[in-house]
């Protein structure tokens, strides 16, 4: 480990709050919406999750980097978070195999910024109490003015459309060519583990850019549609909401996750709103109201579907609730094979308790085809 006294790092929040840490050698200045994740494992999956695009990530757990990174444990092709703030960043790691490397090298290779020695718990508490907001982290020699200028240039998350930044530019296929089911997916920032889960269950998925018109999608004549997760405010995505409406009316099975779930809700006229500080972790309790069983889930969302409106909607049914704050976590259309959840049944990272939802999608496709 580097034995010279480390340079300092400063985190400046939109409301003027400041926190101090030190450098691990991944210096620079970066900013975004400051959010935290409480997961104790799965940092690499989190950093590469497109839903975190542009966010400044505070990891609540003490040590980050211990087991390095692994070529297979990615949720997209690159690091999506804007920067990383830790309590203790491990420059060395311990994991056998040719496909592993250090988190330090991984960040260095993509010119990403990370810092250590922050009181991450104090930052989590600050966001918890004051709400999610934009922030800038500067590691190295930066003045407060430079940081402020950087901060002022950041867009506000509310009303921000981000799917276009992370969606694929060209359609592509995933999975076995001879797979029995064909799924057409709209990519708003799709996590690779969703594709893995579908492929494992006998799906070949054709993934389309976020702004693909409905007739192009319909022309693929799939067994079912999948609406992916992704970053940003769903209310800013009117063209996609319109497409989702058409998809729903196609009568085909539809499965939505996270942003996909919110778009299904919006397409049905339900409002969504920005949460105080969102759900970001891998220990979130969900109750399935249809089976009465509960599951521990992986979550990452800052917007949520209005529960009262959902319950009042004649064509929709609330299927899942979050046990901590009683927010809406899943819905189903009563007369259509359409369902969605706010959380991440594909895990990566997190528990596999909810993978039955993929089976349910498969069942729907089986029944209707």
């Amino acid at each position: 480990m580097n034995n010279t006294p480390s340079k300092s790092a400063t985190l400046l929040l939109q409301d003027g709050a400041r926190f101090y840490g030190s450098s691990v050698g991944l210096d620079g200045i970066t900013g975004g919406e400051l959010c935290f994740n409480t997961g104790m494992t799965g940092y690499q999956e989190i950093f590469t999750d497109p839903s975190y695009y542009g966010q400044l990530m505070v990891m609540a757990t003490s040590h980050i980097g211990n087991y390095g990174v692994h070529a297979d444990e990615v949720e997209s092709d690159s690091i999506k978070v804007a920067g990383l703030i830790t309590k203790s960043f491990s420059p060395y790691y311990s994991r056998a195999g040719q496909q592993t490397g250090s988190l330090y090298d991984y960040f260095k290779a993509s010119n990403k910024i990370a810092a250590t020695d922050f009181d991450t718990r104090a930052i989590v508490q600050y966001i918890r109490d004051n709400g999610a907001m934009n922030a800038v982290v500067a590691v190295g020699d930066y003045t407060l003015e430079e940081m402020q200028a950087h901060l002022d240039a950041l867009p506000n998350m509310k009303g921000l459309e981000l799917a276009s930044k992370v969606s694929t530019k060209e359609p592509y296929f995933y999975g076995d060519e001879n797979a029995p089911f064909h799924v057409t997916a709209l990519d708003f920032g799709i996590k690779t583990n969703i594709l893995r889960n579908l492929a494992q269950r006998g799906c070949r998925i054709q993934v389309f850019p976020h702004d693909t018109p409905f007739d192009v999608l319909a022309a693929t004549n799939p067994h079912g549609f999948f609406l992916s997760n992704g970053p940003g405010d769903p209310q800013s995505m009117q063209p996609q909401i319109d497409v989702v409406q058409q998809i729903i009316h196609s009568g085909k099975p539809v499965f939505g996750i996270c942003l996909g779930h919110q778009l299904i809700a919006l397409a049905n006229g339900l409002p969504t709103f920005k949460m105080h500080n969102g759900h970001r972790g891998i220990n979130h309790p969900i109750k399935n109201l249809e089976t009465g069983k509960s599951e521990i889930t992986s979550q990452n969302h800052g917007f949520v579907v209005d529960k009262a409106a959902l319950e009042a909607h004649p064509e929709l049914m609330l299927t899942h609730i979050h046990l901590n704050d009683n927010t809406a976590a899943g819905l189903r259309m009563i007369n259509r094979p359409v369902f969605s959840v706010q959380y991440h049944p594909e895990a990566g990272p997190g528990p596999n308790d909810a993978t039955y939802l993929f089976d349910q999608f498969l069942t729907n496709m089986n029944q209707l085809n």
Binding site: T38, S62, Q98, V124, H284
Partner: protein, 949 residues
């Protein structure tokens, strides 16, 4: 589903006396369970033969039976009470075995009692290693190649098939009795016969040893609706090959990727579901191959609350036993509340933003001749837990909690410096494992070599290495030159002021001043189960050091979460890790002290570092600081909280020995003053006092150098009792019969306890021993109990069988005991508790020693007489009450016998002869109506063995 209303009365079975492998963690779980059920309006009946427990207190249960854990006792209870259900999962293997035996005999069925929280088939499967292996194969969970042998011949065949190294484990035993790793045929044959012998069903399991595989544990909870949650993941820093009870363990798991962790989680849930349907806790152990395959193999599954569940509860803040009890009576997890946040669901997985490290506490010094190498069989007698924001801080705090005269890792001049010796110790781990790792790095032994010798994951070794580097950097500085950054770094990495002082050749207080001048302040964070995602209510704190931060316009500070109230406060110092001579009895006293102080209107503050205890339950004191009972931590808490005073009388020697420093720093000690505490410990002053009061005592001397031996021996005469001053449990105590022996022992003691004084007492051969415990307010004295030892003088009081009240002391002797107790208690200005030990020879009562604190026998006396003496004594200490304010009403028909319990089965080669060094690990209580009782008669007849020696 809400709770099952047909359950109105529940029987909880305790775990009996403390033995190695089954310690006071089951008092913690039993007490929690009882409280949890009573909250629901359920009548709780409790059976346990261990009197030194909180669970057997009237405050815990409706009906308490201090009876032997036998079928007869259970039958007796079932006849007297209308019990609906029995909860056998809170009392370790002992309770489970008893419940199963009762089930076999049809006892539950006859009395219409349901077993809750457990499934008999599940126990059978998990206890029978062969069935377990077959089941795991059936559900597709990997296990190490293994087979069972019921005969010597079969065992040898298996060995031939698998090849060495192998593990041998005896079926149905506790704490790995009879388990060992074998590398060759000769050892194998010996251990095979031993294993077959110790297993109650004469069966051993032979596994292919997974040496060097990483070892993990998961703690699970499941409800009747089959909802499962993982409360905690624990990584054993010591890989496979060392019993988890003897391993240094870390939570959360440090070196597992999410993918491998989730695979392990899925396997654990699958395993729990496969063994049966029961609502409650479960512990699963896994091994993971250290190669890129990261193969996961199941080691074992325990369908009950375990030692690790107690650790997991303290590590996460999630009260496993409390919730498991609610699940046993029908609740579902999603119907219950998170007990810490009080706003979120109990169905969730705690997440940590700190690290805990558990280090076991061994007592090999009490088992001369024992094999001190750690292996498959558990040998530790207690444990400590350190909580820090990082692994480094947590392990340093754990090391500071051990009370083995170390200040943490490194920097105390006590490290090993011989390379060959260090390499040897790395290969053969023992009690000093964690220190040796540090020393090896400090010596410059490459991490690779250390890894090869220990198989400890390189990530941990790098963490140690980083600590050594910090020490080197500090050593290159002086008190004047050290920077704020470096000092803060050292503090965040857990180095104590004392260690830094050692590195800079200065005083602890100078480092304290230095950090004040740099504005480096200890802050306290909350254990909240949720990494601060939600606000939490529960006042469970640990300390750390942090970088600065804060809102705009406010000064930048390290965020502190422990808000000081304006109520008058009192601090109770806990007794630290359990060890022989200072065990659960002291936790009993601390817990009652806390409750009494609360009754007097004080805000109570508990400081302790033992995760097995009730005192470190966040429900016990108003504020819990889970911290080392180590000066620096205590002092900072006291400066922060500014209490009225500190109670040092309840936490054994651990707390008492801090009195001097408290006094020096002007902090008020509640009850007996420091000067008087010191008088009792100072042999010279104490004897002068006895002399002035015409109280006889054996001839004695205090020496500070071996040159004084000759003169002292002449004056005192042999036989002689030799011991260092200020120790507990007879540590280093020995009876010598001639000058040669005396000299040898004294030289040893000066080596082991440098700078200490050594006490020489004339030994009253063949005398009878007795002891008295009393409460005194400075003026009035009330003797709460007098106990007579059945064995003659020479056997440590903790190891003697004893009766309450005495069984054959004459009136004249009793009068002397009472008079002396009154005189001494008053002469010492005792305000609180005092324990006095006597030797009686030729009808004269001599004083052996006086302990101005709650003694080991206090809980026993409270239980035998059914009186809350610690509560009374605490109120006296606090000055709230006088002795004459209480109406004493002891109830005891006949006699209560205190029977010590030993754990010698863990040390087969050790000489079991008893002497002045205490060696028992626990005790039980046994009531007799008259002295014709066969149990008493047997004990009494055995005393002659000692007399004839």
């Amino acid at each position: 589903m809400p709770r099952d209303n047909s359950i109105k009365s529940v029987l909880i079975i305790g775990s009996g006396p403390i033995v190695i492998g089954q310690a006071c963690e089951f008092d913690y779980s039993g007490s929690q369970a009882a409280r949890s059920l009573r909250e629901e309006g359920i009548e709780v009946t409790l059976i346990n033969s261990n009197p030194a427990t909180i669970m057997t207190d009237p405050v815990t249960a409706d009906h308490v039976y201090l009876l032997p854990l036998t079928i007869e006792s259970i039958e007796h209870i079932l006849e007297k009470h209308n019990i609906d259900a029995v909860l056998p999962t809170m009392g370790g293997q002992t309770a489970l075995n008893l419940a199963m035996e009762a089930d076999k005999q049809g006892l539950w069925e006859t009395h219409g009692v349901r077993m809750i929280g457990v499934d008999i088939d599940a126990i059978n499967i998990t206890e029978d290693r062969e069935e377990f292996r077959l089941l795991m194969q059936k559900i597709g969970v990997g296990v190490a190649p293994s087979a069972t042998a019921k005969s010597f011949l079969k065992g040898k065949e298996i060995a031939q098939e698998f090849g060495f190294p192998l593990c041998i484990r005896a079926s149905y035993t506790l704490g790995g009795s009879g388990a060992a790793i074998v590398y060759d045929k000769n050892d194998f044959e010996n251990l095979l016969s031993h294993g077959l012998e110790v297993s109650p069903i004469h069966e051993v399991m032979i596994d292919k040893a997974l040496i060097g595989w990483k070892e993990y544990e998961l703690e699970l909870l499941r409800d009747a609706n089959d909802n499962v949650t993982i409360i905690c993941s624990i990584e054993n820093m010591d890989p496979m090959g060392i019993h988890t009870g003897d391993s240094i363990t870390v939570a959360p798991a440090m070196t597992l990727s999410d993918r491998t962790y989730q695979r392990m989680r899925d396997l654990a849930i699958k395993m729990m579901r496969s063994i049966g349907n029961f609502a409650g806790g479960c512990n699963v152990q896994f091994a993971v191959s250290p190669d890129e395959k990261e193969d996961i193999v199941a080691i074992e599954i325990n369908p009950r609350v375990s030692r690790s569940s107690a650790l997991a509860s303290k590590a996460t803040g999630y009260p496993i036993a409390k919730i498991a009890s609610k699940l046993a009576i029908g609740y579902h997890l999603d119907e219950l509340q998170n007990q810490i946040t009080k706003t979120t669901s109990a169905f969730f997985e705690p997440t940590l933003d700190y690290v805990i490290v558990k280090i076991p506490r061994w007592n090999f010094d009490k088992f001369e001749g024992a094999d001190r190498t750690l292996g498959l069989q558990m040998k530790s007698v207690g444990e400590v837990m350190g909580i820090g924001r990082t692994f480094q801080e947590a392990i340093q705090k754990a090391a500071q909690s051990l009370e083995i005269r170390r200040n943490g890792l490194g920097a105390d001049g006590k490290g090993y410096t011989d390379q060959d010796q260090v390499m040897e110790m790395l290969a053969n781990p023992s009690w000093n494992r964690v220190f040796v790792l540090y020393d090896a790095i400090q010596l410059g032994i490459p991490l690779r070599r250390i890894h090869e010798a220990t198989k400890i994951d390189m990530w941990f070794l790098r963490q140690f290495d980083d600590l050594v580097q910090v020490q080197r950097r500090i050593e290159a500085e002086t008190l004047d030159s050290i920077s704020r950054g470096l000092l803060l770094e050292a503090k965040t990495k857990g180095f104590a002021d004392r260690q830094i002082a050692h590195m800079l050749h200065t005083l602890e207080s100078k480092i304290h001043d230095k950090r004040m001048s740099f504005d480096i302040h200890r802050v306290w964070k909350l254990v909240d189960t949720c990494a601060a995602e939600f606000p939490a209510e529960t006042p469970y704190y640990y300390s750390t050091f942090e970088n600065l931060g804060g809102a705009k316009g406010l000064p930048m500070v390290s965020r502190n979460e422990s808000v000081v109230s304006d109520k008058p406060k009192v601090v109770v110092l806990g007794s630290g890790p359990n060890r022989i001579g200072q065990g659960i009895e002291f936790d009993y006293s601390c817990v009652h002290g806390v409750m009494a102080a609360k009754e007097c209107g004080y805000e109570t503050i508990m400081i302790n570092c033992n995760p097995e205890t009730v005192s470190t339950d966040f429900d016990t004191a108003d504020k819990l600081y889970f911290e080392p009972v180590f000066w620096e931590h205590i002092y900072d808490i006291i400066r922060h909280e500014n209490p009225v005073g500190v109670i040092v009388q309840l936490g054994g020697q651990t707390a008492l020995k801090l009195a001097e420093k408290l006094e020096r720093f002007g902090i008020r000690i509640m009850g007996t003053s420091f000067d008087m505490l010191d008088l009792a410990e100072d042999r010279g002053r104490f004897s002068e006092m006895l002399h002035e009061n015409n109280i006889p005592y054996p001839q004695f001397d205090v020496i500070t150098s071996s040159n004084q031996i000759h003169d002292a021996a002449k004056r005192i005469g042999f036989p002689m009792l030799v011991r260092p001053s200020y120790v507990l449990g007879g540590q280093g105590m020995k009876i010598v019969i001639n000058e040669e022996e005396l000299e040898h022992h004294v030289v040893e003691l000066f080596k082991d306890f440098p700078g200490n004084r050594i006490l020489l007492d004339h030994y009253l051969d063949g005398a009878i021993e007795a002891e008295a415990d009393a409460i005194c307010d400075g003026e009035d004295v009330y003797i709460i109990g007098i106990m007579e030892h059945i064995e003659p003088c020479g056997i440590h009081s903790g190891d003697s069988n004893a009766t309450l009240p005495p069984f054959n002391l004459g009136e004249w002797v009793m009068q002397q005991i009472k008079d002396h107790t009154h005189t001494i208690a008053k002469a010492l200005g005792t305000v609180g508790l005092i324990n006095i030990q006597f030797a009686i020879k030729d009808d004269t009562v001599y004083i052996i020693e006086a302990n101005p604190r709650a003694s080991r026998t206090v809980p026993f006396i409270c239980k035998a007489y059914g009186e809350p003496y610690v509560n009374y004594a605490t109120k006296v200490m606090l000055g709230e009450k006088k002795v004459k304010d209480f109406t004493f009403n002891p109830k005891l028909e006949g006699w209560a016998i205190k029977i010590p319990v030993f754990s010698f089965d863990k040390f087969p080669k050790v000489n079991k002869q008893l002497g002045p060094q205490m060696r028992s690990t626990g005790e039980k209580i046994y009531f007799v109506k008259n002295l014709k009782d066969p149990v008493f008669r047997k004990l009494y007849s055995e005393r002659n063995l000692y007399l004839s020696r």
